[in-house]
């Protein structure tokens, strides 16, 4: 027999025994009859997959992967929680072929759903859960913050252990101190700026004065040089040896005359 023959034979057999295929029947039933059943089945599936992911997350070593998985789980949880009110509405609808007991069980199932959803571990066990804040959690998933943001204090995903509380307090204290310090710095900088401006203006004021001083001092130095040269010439003239010798000879003559007169008068 060829492969094609085998395939056709398998198909024929499956068709014949379809009615014994429970799962398929259930799926068909669900798909065919009931919006509620359909929705419920899908929610169920999602819950199961989320639980699986939670298991892998708990076994995962890589923290980043853990965080990513947890984020996905949270997303799914939020989505499922959104679906729950729809399910509730559908549960209360009467569908033909459904007994009253089944209707009540459906209601119970729906009521049990939120708890089941919440109990899926997503890496954050909280003591202060705001179970009524469905819309809050829904909005949280749209705002994709990283864990370093500080806008999620009232988020139910915030692990409010003592440590984190202390840490937050410390963080706020430090922030306040930093703000104070920055205020002081800014005041100092303002003073500095003012002083710098004043110095700027003062220097501008003194520039023309310096120029004046410069020119005047130049003039004075040139005068001085001139005078020095002339003085040098004069002194040289005075000190020329001829005049000097004449001065000495005359001096001797005068002393001689004086001594002569002295002697004469003494006698």
């Amino acid at each position: 027999m060829s492969v094609i023959d085998i395939l056709t034979r398998v198909d024929a057999i499956c068709k014949k025994y379809e009615k014994y295929d429970v799962e398929r029947l259930n799926g068909d039933n669900v798909a065919g009859d009931d919006a509620f059943a359909r929705l419920y089945a899908s929610v169920d599936l999602d819950v199961e997959s989320a639980l699986q992911k939670a298991e892998t997350a708990s076994q995962e070593k890589n923290r980043a992967a853990v965080v990513a998985l947890n984020a996905e789980i949270r997303r799914t949880k939020a989505r499922l929680l959104e679906e729950v009110p729809k399910l509730q509405r559908l549960a209360l609808k009467k569908v033909k072929g459904l007994s009253k007991e089944e209707l009540s069980t459906r209601n119970d199932l729906v009521l049990a759903l939120p708890d089941r959803i919440q109990s899926i571990p997503d890496g954050s066990t909280n003591g202060a859960k705001a179970t009524g804040s469905w819309t809050a959690s829904a909005s949280r998933t749209e705002i994709r913050f990283d864990s370093t943001s500080d806008g999620r204090f009232e988020s139910e995903y915030f692990q409010q252990t003592e440590e984190s509380n202390q840490f937050r307090q410390e963080y706020e204290m430090r922030k306040m101190k930093q703000d104070q310090g920055l205020d002081i710095i800014s005041e100092g900088l303002d003073t500095l700026q003012n002083m710098a401006h004043d110095m700027n203006e003062e220097l501008d004021r003194q520039v023309p004065l310096m120029d004046e001083i410069d020119s005047k001092v130049d003039k004075a130095t040139s005068d001085l040089k001139n005078t020095n040269v002339r003085l040098k010439e004069t002194v040289n003239q005075l000190r020329s040896s001829r005049n000097f010798c004449i001065d000495i000879i005359l001096l001797y003559i005068i002393l001689g005359i004086a001594a002569y007169l002295y002697n004469v008068l003494k006698k």
């Binding site: 303002d190 003012n194 004043d198």
Partner: protein, 293 residues
């Protein structure tokens, strides 16, 4: 000669200068030298009155021999002696004379310095005259294009005005200061001057005037975009809202702290309790609107 009695020197010098029968031309040169010596001698002996007279005569002598610089110098010495003696009108006269002589030399800076010294001497006793001297000094410098030097004079004059509580004059002077600062591109001083003017107007409870002043000053682009301009804007808006806390808060930090201390004192007193008046004015306006409608 210096050890000679100054009295004798004075007598001698007087003789030299007095025209008489035997003397047709007064010998000013020698006389001046003698007068100077006499003056120094008197000052040394602390006979201020006589020293002052001697300086006066020396100065006159220098004028006669056409050396206005020395004449002005002597005048200044005479003026400082007069200050010590307490002859206040003489002080102002002497300083003005000295300043004129300096201007003859063509040196405006010493001229205004002389007037400035005179003004500071007269601040306590005759503040009006002092202020006039300050303003004249500023004008001299501005004529010569040296507005930079005038800043100190403006500052002193403003503080005198504020002491006299002539606030409008003070504000006008501050605006003049702003103009002077503008000419030499001293933006910081200009903005500070304008802010001080606005504060003074607010202190006088003259809110409209302050508004007008602010609008005028905002024409100057530099003021509009400066810290001082921003502070003024906030002050005026706080006043409009009648928010006392806001005003007090604004008066604390810079740029008000960088202004002159006289202005800071005014600013600290600023919310002078007249906000209710302003509010009443505003209320009246609303009432009028109601009447119209």
């Amino acid at each position: 000669m210096t050890t000679q009695d100054p009295g004798k020197l004075m007598a001698k010098a007087d003789k030299l200068t007095k025209l008489s029968f035997t003397r047709w031309n007064a010998d000013w040169k020698n006389a001046t030298a003698l007068y100077e010596q006499a003056a120094v001698g008197y000052r040394f002996k602390k006979e201020n009155e006589k020293a002052k007279e001697a300086f006066e005569k020396a100065s006159k002598g220098q004028e006669m021999i056409s050396s206005p610089w020395d004449a002005a110098k002597h005048m200044e010495s005479a003026a400082s002696l007069a200050k010590e003696l307490g002859h206040w009108n003489e002080v102002s006269d002497f300083y003005r004379k000295a300043s004129e002589l300096y201007r003859e030399c063509g040196r405006s800076q010493p001229a205004s310095d002389a007037l400035g010294k005179g003004a500071s001497a007269l601040e306590d006793t005759n503040p009006d005259e002092a202020v006039r001297l300050y303003i004249d000094a500023c004008e001299i410098l501005e004529e010569d294009g040296k507005e930079q030097m005038a800043f100190d004079l403006y500052r002193a004059a403003t503080s005198t005005y504020v002491k006299l509580e002539r606030y409008t004059d003070a504000a006008t002077l501050l605006l003049r200061w702003g103009v002077a600062a503008d000419k030499c591109n001293a933006v910081n001083s200009q903005c500070k001057a304008y802010l001080s003017a606005i504060i003074i107007y607010l202190y006088m409870h003259d809110f409209q005037q302050a508004q007008k002043c602010y609008n005028d000053c905002s024409q100057v682009g530099a003021f509009l975009s400066s810290d001082q301009g921003r502070c003024a804007r906030k002050l005026l808006s706080a006043y409009e809202e009648g928010d006392i806390e806001e005003i007090k808060r604004l008066a604390q930090p810079s740029p008000i702290t960088h202004l002159d201390h006289v202005i800071i004192k005014l600013a600290r007193k600023l919310p002078t309790g007249d906000l209710k008046e302003l509010e009443k004015e505003e209320d009246k306006e609303t009432l009028d609107e109601n009447d119209l409608t």
